[in-house]
């Protein structure tokens, strides 16, 4: 069932949610970029299409403290300071980021379950927001994602002067029930019309025809494609694509020793684009940027799908298209692989 609030009264919804649970939403920062921030009274939700960084930080933060140690002489103490997360709400996530959670789930919730991720994931309720104005860098449709029906626990639309919401899951229904005092009944037909309007826009996007090729049975062939040399030739190995990517999941584990006697083990995002990523005492199997570049896209478009029933590890959010300093991106790689397949 559709419920609504006047868009000008959206903060009534935000206030009602944050009265019960911690609430995060996209907010414009001082530089004018949207980023997920904790809600405080009066804060306005960003009107921008998407956040600069993806929403993966919620479950897979850039730096995750894991465990502490103390080492004195021959003796070691271990301090497991994990604690159950509080319930919280992620408000205004876009369809691409919502799908990225499924992509990450397949990694972190696979046996053995990653408890750091699971803890944050299971306590989150996700309110997604349909994209009224998708950008020319958007290609979520290439991966079967519908920006007009963004899923999550509750999906939402801005329809004219109204903010409309529909619970999708039991968790979402619970959230809607908890704030029903500020909501009125919405109009399904108006939402349907908005969905249609968005579909018309999606259909005009410049990247709408980009399609991934199912290369699950051509792993070696794609790996050996002569195209990789050219595609990677200008890659700086800066890792910007990895850091803004909602599905990049590689991490490093290191010990922080700057705190006197306590040693803190943490994990942090890492990038397969970096030259020391696979460095061992005897050298690295990925000697040039070509191998490292190829690894990133093989993983997203071939290796991950092989392991996950054809699901791709890209959600078409377009962040890497905007951020790459040399204008290389997964769309160009997908087009090259499409040519190979023809």
């Amino acid at each position: 069932m559709i419920v609504k609030v006047a868009y000008s009264d959206l903060n009534k919804v935000l206030d009602a949610i944050s009265a019960n649970e911690k609430l995060y939403l996209p907010v414009d920062n001082a530089a004018g970029q949207a980023e997920f921030k904790p809600y405080t009274e009066g804060v306005q939700m960003s009107k921008q299409l998407n956040t600069l960084r993806s929403a993966k930080d919620f479950f897979f933060p850039q730096v995750q403290p894991m465990v502490k140690f103390r080492r004195e002489g021959k003796h070691i103490d271990i301090f497991d300071e994990r604690s159950e997360s509080e319930d919280y709400v992620i408000f205004g996530a876009r369809a691409c980021d919502v799908r990225s959670f499924d992509v990450l789930d397949n990694v972190f919730l696979a046996d053995p379950v990653d408890t750091y991720y699971e803890n944050r994931r299971k306590h989150a309720t996700i309110v997604s927001l349909a994209c009224n104005r998708p950008a020319e860098t958007c290609f979520c449709g290439s991966f079967g994602i519908d920006a007009a029906k963004p899923a999550g626990d509750v999906q939402a639309w801005i329809v004219g002067d109204d903010f409309c919401m529909e619970p999708v899951t039991e968790k979402g229904q619970k959230l809607i029930d908890s704030i029903k005092d500020v909501l009125t009944e919405g109009d399904q037909a108006a939402v349907d019309a908005q969905i249609e309007k968005i579909h018309e826009i999606l259909d005009r996007l410049p990247l709408k025809d980009v399609k991934p090729v199912d290369n699950r049975d051509k792993e070696l062939e794609v790996f050996n494609s002569p195209k990789w040399a050219e595609l990677s030739s200008h890659c700086l190995g800066c890792g910007a694509c990895t850091f803004v990517c909602p599905t990049c999941q590689c991490f490093d584990i290191e010990d922080f020793t700057g705190n006197n006697h306590t040693i803190e083990r943490y994990r942090c995002w890492d990038s397969c684009m970096y030259n020391d990523f696979t460095m061992m005492a005897a050298g690295t199997p990925r000697k040039t940027q070509k191998e490292r570049f190829r690894q990133r896209f093989m993983h997203k478009l071939v290796y991950y799908p092989i392991k996950n029933d054809g699901m791709y590890s890209c959600v078409g959010c377009g962040r890497c298209l905007k951020k790459c300093p040399i204008q290389m991106n997964i769309v160009k790689v997908m087009k090259a692989l499409e040519e190979d397949a023809e």
Binding site: M66, V67, F69, R70, R71, K74, H75, I76, I78, D80, R82, S83, E84, V107, F108, A110, P112, V113, D114, T115, Y116, E118, N119, E219, L220, F223, N224, Q249, C250, F251, D252, I253, D255, T257, I263, R265, R267, D270, C272, F277, T278, M279, M280, A281, A282, T284, P285, R286, E291, Q295, M298, H299, V302, Y303, I306, K307
Partner: protein
């Protein structure tokens, strides 16, 4: 909170054995004095020292070892140098075991097994060799071909000469790269030696060593008529998590930490040659 696989447990280094100039074996027990885990031969474990580093090492002790878990480690970097410098009684961190291990209960059952190792490559094979020796009813004859640069670099030489070589189920073939005073055994490289032995074609080959040794040994075996589906190896890649999540150790769509480290060569041939 549920158990977190990435949080290690404490292991106590009960005994340190100098194997060669740059290889030491570490006997590790839990705080209760017992082995920390029971492993399948061929599995690995993460060993770390807080503030120094963490690394994946093959478990050299056999699963039936009632006293301790053993790691034979070559000194070649920051963490391994620290481990080499520590004294008995030191506490370290251990998590695992990880990986698939050798198919000792399936493909290897009832078969003659040939182990071919070079240098520190013996370490990952010692566990399975001693496992098979302890369960002779389940396996055929064990041929062990092992070589190193010099006689001083032969890991576990005492055990090999005094136990394996005297075991009626085993034949041991040792070789060193160059002539040396005090060595009256075979001299020459492992690949050539393995070819000269005329191994019968119904045997299963398990090979571990430097890439160049593996390459030439495999070429020799293929020339003799062995199929790649008869040859197993255990792989090594940089690892951080050990449980298929950190994205570091893949060969194509396979993670060495979780889907490996043991691979059959015909399967490995289907993966990108990036190792």
């Amino acid at each position: 909170m549920n158990k977190e696989e990435l949080i290690p447990q404490i292991g106590v280094v009960k005994e340190i054995v100098q194997e060669t100039g740059d290889v030491k074996s570490f006997h590790v027990v839990g705080l209760d004095g017992k082995p920390i885990f029971k492993n399948i031969p061929g599995q690995c474990a993460m060993v770390s020292v807080p503030g120094v580093g963490e690394g994946m090492f093959s478990i050299t002790s056999a699963p039936q070892n009632p006293d301790y878990n053993e790691f034979s480690i070559k000194k070649c970097g920051h963490l391994t140098s620290w481990l080499h410098d520590m004294e008995e009684g030191q506490e370290i961190l251990v998590r695992g075991p990880y990986g698939n291990g050798f198919p000792v209960d399936t493909d290897f059952r009832g078969k003659d097994l040939v182990f071919i190792a070079g240098g520190i490559g013996l370490a990952p094979l010692r566990s399975i060799i001693n496992y098979c020796r302890a369960n002779p009813e389940n396996y055929g004859h064990l041929d062990i071909i092992y070589g190193s640069r010099t006689k001083e670099d032969l890991v576990k030489r005492k055990e090999i000469e005094e136990e394996w070589a005297k075991d009626p189920h085993c034949s041991v073939y040792l070789t060193i790269d160059r002539e040396e005073e005090g060595w009256d055994g075979h001299v020459g490289f492992v690949p050539t030696y393995a070819s000269e032995l005329g191994l019968s074609l119904d045997k299963i080959i398990i090979i571990c060593g430097p890439p160049i040794m593996i390459h030439f040994t495999l070429e020799g075996l293929k020339k003799q008529g062995f199929k790649t589906s008869q040859v197993y190896t255990t792989m090594e890649m940089r690892m951080k998590c050990g449980i298929g999540k950190c994205g570091r150790c893949n060969i194509g769509d396979k993670y060495v930490c979780k889907d490996g480290p043991v691979f059959r060569y015909d399967k490995l041939d289907l993966l990108p040659p990036e190792f």
